[in-house]
């Protein structure tokens, strides 16, 4: 008897999120990564930074290179399985420069992506061709002493993968591979970007995706930043070489905001992505 496979594709990645080295969905939330007793943010709205416990960080000391670890958590309604939490973990190299008294500029280069789910029936693999196709993208940091000592925010940033939109923030995503706005971002001959799935079901998925996110965080020190990510993801599957992977699963933002967070630690100016990936366990023990 041929057993019908059961699939579980939880496929929402965000280059604005970064990764830990764990292989399972972390029960830990942001607070585990924050220093001191004041690191217990329960929601983005309650984010109040260090309060009176942190020494003020001089903005002049912030520029430099950082390794960035982002976790973006979503709840996915997976057919035949039910609701499942899924994390996209991103490893990135960030270059920070000073724009003016109130702003910093970030240039973020994604080094690696990993998706981890509560279920292990399938694994989502981000091919190197896709990772290499990701260009470094900018992000503005607004220094917000009005929110508390060392606090900052980052306004809405939008990234679109696999399609070129005139208005990236508002244009609907293309739904057909034949749409002229769709392009082969990773150069593999398939429309949009290609993600691969392996496990009890396998195949390629060709898709376009839009990530929209804001950040709110604080400078724990001149060498370490942390905060929360508030993001939305839209995704359209353009095709697959496996009919079982023909449409995305319904998903929504994890209701616990502390499950989506980021941490940055300073690295030497000469460090690159491969160094960050190789030293990940040391940077984020």
């Amino acid at each position: 008897m041929r057993l019908t496979t059961v699939w579980l594709v939880v496929l929402f990645f965000s280059a604005t999120t970064s990764c830990s080295g764990s292989n399972s969905v972390a029960d830990a939330s942001m607070e585990e990564y924050l220093d001191g007793a004041d690191g217990g943010a329960d929601s983005a709205a309650d984010w109040s930074g260090c309060g009176d416990h942190c020494a003020k960080v001089d903005a002049e000391s912030l520029p430099g290179s950082y390794a960035m670890f982002q976790v973006n958590s979503r709840i996915v309604n997976v057919p035949v399985v039910g609701q499942s939490r899924s994390e996209t973990r991103t490893k990135a190299l960030v270059t920070v420069t000073r724009r003016d008294q109130e702003h910093l500029d970030m240039l973020i280069r994604v080094c690696d992506l990993e998706q981890v789910s509560e279920t292990t029936l399938v694994e989502v693999v981000f091919p190197e061709a896709f990772l290499k196709s990701l260009e470094a993208y900018p992000r503005l940091i607004e220094l917000r002493p009005d929110l508390g000592i060392n606090n900052f925010t980052s306004p809405l940033a939008v990234e679109v993968y696999g399609a070129r939109l005139e208005n990236p923030q508002t244009d609907p995503l293309p739904t057909e591979a034949s749409d002229s706005r769709v392009y082969d971002q990773d150069g593999d001959g398939k429309p949009g970007i290609t993600i691969r799935v392996t496990g009890i079901v396998d195949g390629e998925i060709w898709l376009v995706q839009r990530n929209s996110s804001t950040l709110s965080g604080l400078f724990e020190s001149a060498d370490r930043w942390s905060g929360l990510i508030d993001s939305e993801v839209e995704q359209v599957y353009l095709g697959s070489d496996n009919p079982a992977l023909s449409k995305p699963n319904e998903s929504w933002k994890d209701p616990d905001p502390s499950h989506s967070y980021f941490i940055m630690v300073r690295v030497g100016e000469d460090k690159d992505c491969s160094w960050i990936v190789d030293n990940w366990g040391t940077l984020f023990p």
Binding site: T4, V125, P127, R196
Partner: protein
């Protein structure tokens, strides 16, 4: 050999038919591969039963012989031992499938990649050790039946024959004959032996003797067709050990006919038979339901169809003869010969598939004879059964051998009051002649490269372990087979 006793009492034909119908009711009766291999295992005729049978086995082998068999009840027991050997050649290095296959995409000639078309397991993760299955062992059977004559000159005779295993009433152990068997026994199997021997046989036949020298017979053997539907509901696909399962099974009985004709005078007998093809089919469907699942349009479940065939026997035609030496009583003897044609080219294996490399039809000759001294008789048979299976140099691993068969029978007749009894025994030895085969890349259907040249799903880098041929085909790179079958049977026959 017996002469036809006279003055027999009539047995009600309805009783016999009712007995047959009772066994139809069991709906388990099936194949006769064992009978085709051993012949009559409890009486003199042995492998020449199509020509010589004087007992209930004529019901199956040649129903026309019922006209010449004494009216009787018979019960017997026999056992068969299978001492089978399959030796697998050592696998060369580099043919194992590594676990890199889990992260592989097949590299196409144009440089693109695609999903793997077949899904072998890493060799190290196979559930069963290669060649770990051993089919050797013993099986035992009871047999019983009756022959009843009707009419003043007995123009009609009716026979009933039943063969019932002492263990599994009906055993089926299907297997794949190629690389797909890696998921199961990961071994090779003798295609025409093993589970084909387990199962019951029920046969009913009628003989008509229009002339003193001519008898015509027709019989029917019960086969069955099974339909099984398994309904499965899986509440959580991520926990596949938790499932709600029901199974619906229906078994239908079919009657497979066979015919015989016998012509004889005081010294000569000519016998011919025709047996229709036989197969016991199991067809079915798994109906799989998941929680929160969009089924294909028009479906309320996912359907998984399967089909098995057990105990396939092809068309069989035999022609044989017997010559009596000496007087019909006292000191005498006989010589017999038979040749059996079997249309194995139409073979369907246990998975209801035709062999990729076509099988051949076979002619199997058997010679024999016997000696009678008063109330004692002995017989001897020798036969050769060629294998229909071509050299398995390619993907498939049908294991089958030419067979040399020897049989030795004995019968002692004695009177008990007004009744005549006979005690019979038969011993047979079948040698599976040694056969060896090595796989060849030049075969018409060569061994499949189960891990074709592939790249890593993440890096797109070539996977070195995929270069060249990798296979979990348990028959690769070759194998040899041989063995022995032994049977010993005894039976008591009561004639009125």
């Amino acid at each position: 050999m017996y002469n036809i006793p006279s003055g027999k009492k009539r047995v009600d034909i309805l009783t016999l038919v009712a007995l047959f119908l009772v066994f139809i009711g069991y709906k388990h009766a099936r194949g006769s591969a064992l009978l085709e291999t051993l012949g009559d295992s409890t009486e003199l005729s042995g492998m020449l039963a199509r020509v010589e049978s004087t007992g209930i086995s004529a019901t199956y082998f040649n129903p026309a012989l019922l006209s010449f068999a004494p009216a009787q009840f018979k019960a017997g027991f026999f056992t068969i031992g299978q001492n089978l050997s399959i030796k697998l050649m050592d696998r060369p290095s580099g043919v194992d499938i590594s676990d890199a296959i889990y992260r592989a995409r097949q590299l196409n000639p144009d440089g693109t990649t695609s999903r793997l078309e077949i899904r072998p397991l890493p060799t190290a993760e196979l559930r069963a050790k290669r060649g770990s299955y051993d089919a050797s062992g013993w099986l035992s059977f009871f047999e019983f039946g009756t022959v009843v004559g009707f009419g003043a000159k007995r123009p009609f005779s009716l026979g009933f024959f039943a063969l019932i295993p002492t263990a599994d009433f009906q055993g089926q152990q299907p297997f794949f004959v190629d690389e797909r068997e890696q998921y199961f026994s990961n071994s090779l199997h003798f295609e025409l032996l093993e589970d084909r021997f387990s199962g019951a046989v029920f046969v009913l036949a009628l003989a008509w003797r229009p002339l003193g020298w001519l008898s015509l017979g027709a019989g029917a053997l019960m086969a069955n067709s099974t339909r099984a539907v398994s309904g499965i509901f899986m509440p959580d696909a991520s926990n596949q050990q938790d499932a709600r399962t029901i199974s619906r099974v229906s078994v239908n009985t079919r009657l497979v006919p066979h015919f015989g004709v016998v012509a004889e005078d005081q010294s000569w007998r000519v016998a011919a038979t025709l047996h229709f093809p036989l197969q016991n089919k199991v067809v079915g469907q798994g109906e799989l339901q998941f929680w929160n699942y969009d089924y294909p349009e028009g479906q309320t479940a996912l359907y998984q169809n399967f089909s098995f065939v057990h105990g396939f026997l092809p068309w069989r035609v035999s022609l044989g003869g017997r010559y009596l030496l000496g007087p019909p009583q006292g000191l005498g003897g006989w010589l017999s010969a038979d040749i059996l044609w079997s249309q194995w080219s139409a073979y369907q294996n246990r998975m209801n598939e035709r062999p990729l490399d076509h099988w051949s039809d076979t002619f199997a000759p058997t010679l024999g004879g016997g000696l009678r001294v008063g109330m004692h008789e002995i017989s001897l048979q020798a036969g050769y059964v060629p294998s229909p299976v071509p050299a398995q140099t390619g993907r498939t691993n049908y294991v089958d051998n030419d067979r040399l068969q020897l049989g030795l029978g004995y019968q002692w007749r004695f009177d008990l009051g007004s009744s005549r009894l006979s005690l019979g025994a038969h011993l047979s030895a079948i040698h599976l002649l040694y056969r060896s085969v090595k796989k060849s890349p030049d075969a018409e259907h060569p061994v499949i490269d189960e891990f074709p040249d592939s790249v890593d799903i993440a890096t797109n880098q070539f996977i070195p372990e995929s270069a060249g041929l990798q296979t979990n085909n348990p028959g690769y790179p070759g194998f040899s087979s041989s063995g022995w079958l032994f049977s010993l049977g005894v039976a008591l026959r009561y004639c009125r």
